[in-house]
């Protein structure tokens, strides 16, 4: 083996390390490892038909016709309260309709929550046993899904929605989907 090749082999460890450090640097920027992209991305939302809190509920097919937001929430969920004011503002600004699915909750508790903090939702579905959440791939609350006009899931936000996410991700996506 020529000396040159041999010396090259000695450089291998440091090169491997540089690649490793590069990956680590990328990983540090890529956010929380707990957050997972939706498995249903660009697929049609799973079928559901849920009873409402008091009165009409929501069904999947009833939501077609334009982009919508579906927000999974619960009265026992503290981060949901963090995002609640933002949801109220979103509802006021009316970029797109906001629907709520109350996950593993009691109607009484949900009513108390909405009475206390306000109701941003066009309509609410009660997912008492969590089956709809399971079908959506929900693994914690709150989660917010963006559906396009054909009922396909375009994005999932895990954890409480932030103003930054709305500005940087939600609004541009809505433009893409054809809604100002």
């Amino acid at each position: 083996m020529k000396a040159g090749v041999r010396n090259l082999l000695f450089i291998l460890p440091v090169l491997l390390f540089v690649a490793l450090a590069g990956y680590f640097a990328l990983a540090l920027r890529s956010g929380d490892p707990h957050e997972l992209p939706s498995a249903l991305l660009n697929k049609e939302a799973p079928y559901f038909a849920l009873a409402g809190l008091d009165g009409a509920g929501i069904t999947r097919d009833g939501l077609k016709g334009g982009p919508v937001l579906i927000n999974f929430f619960a009265s026992w969920c503290v981060p949901c309260r963090i995002e609640h004011p933002l949801l109220m503002r979103l509802a006021e600004q009316n970029h797109l309709p906001l629907y709520g699915i109350d996950y593993k909750d009691q109607p009484v508790d949900a009513q108390k929550l909405l009475a206390q903090f306000g109701d941003p939702y066009r309509a609410i579905g009660m997912d008492r046993d969590g089956r709809v959440g399971l079908d959506f791939g929900v693994y914690g609350v709150p989660e917010t899904y963006v559906l396009d006009s054909t009922g396909h899931i375009r994005k999932r936000f895990v954890g409480p929605l932030t103003a930054q996410q709305v500005d940087d991700e939600l609004l541009p996506l809505l433009k893409q989907l054809g809604r100002p």
Binding site: A39, G137, G140, V141, G159, P160
Partner: protein, 160 residues
Amino acid sequence: MRHLIGVASWLVVALVLLFHLPATAVEPGEQLKNPALEARARQISSELRCLVCQNETIDESNASLAHDIRILLRQRLTAGDTDEQAVKAIVDRYGDFVLLDPPMEPATYVLWFGPLAVLLAGLLGGMIWLRRRSDTTEAAAPLTPEERRRLDTILREADR
């Protein structure tokens, strides 16, 4: 901002754990009557990751989500699904991340074949190194009888 999300995500995880009566892993009430089906369910569960406590299997996890998936799994098996179909039902909802056994596909070839590749590379490297050493070292000058005797003594001691 990202920090806040990080903190909030932890809260989400913590909350799903705390605000539900802790189900201690697989509960007797969840178990299927049919032992063969139940055995399959347990085996599959041990290969699925709980997404809430991300370092436990759904077989072990206390989270209510794990409980839900265990129930779903058993329902699919009872309905006649094969193991692959039942797992697919869960992967369709939660993605490949839920599989503790990574799928064998082009994206994971490096993962699956990597260990063997490293081993072969190491063995190859070792052999080349051995070959090279015997090539480049010059033959030593022959030993005098005195040196030979010393050498024999030393070798005898070292080989013990």
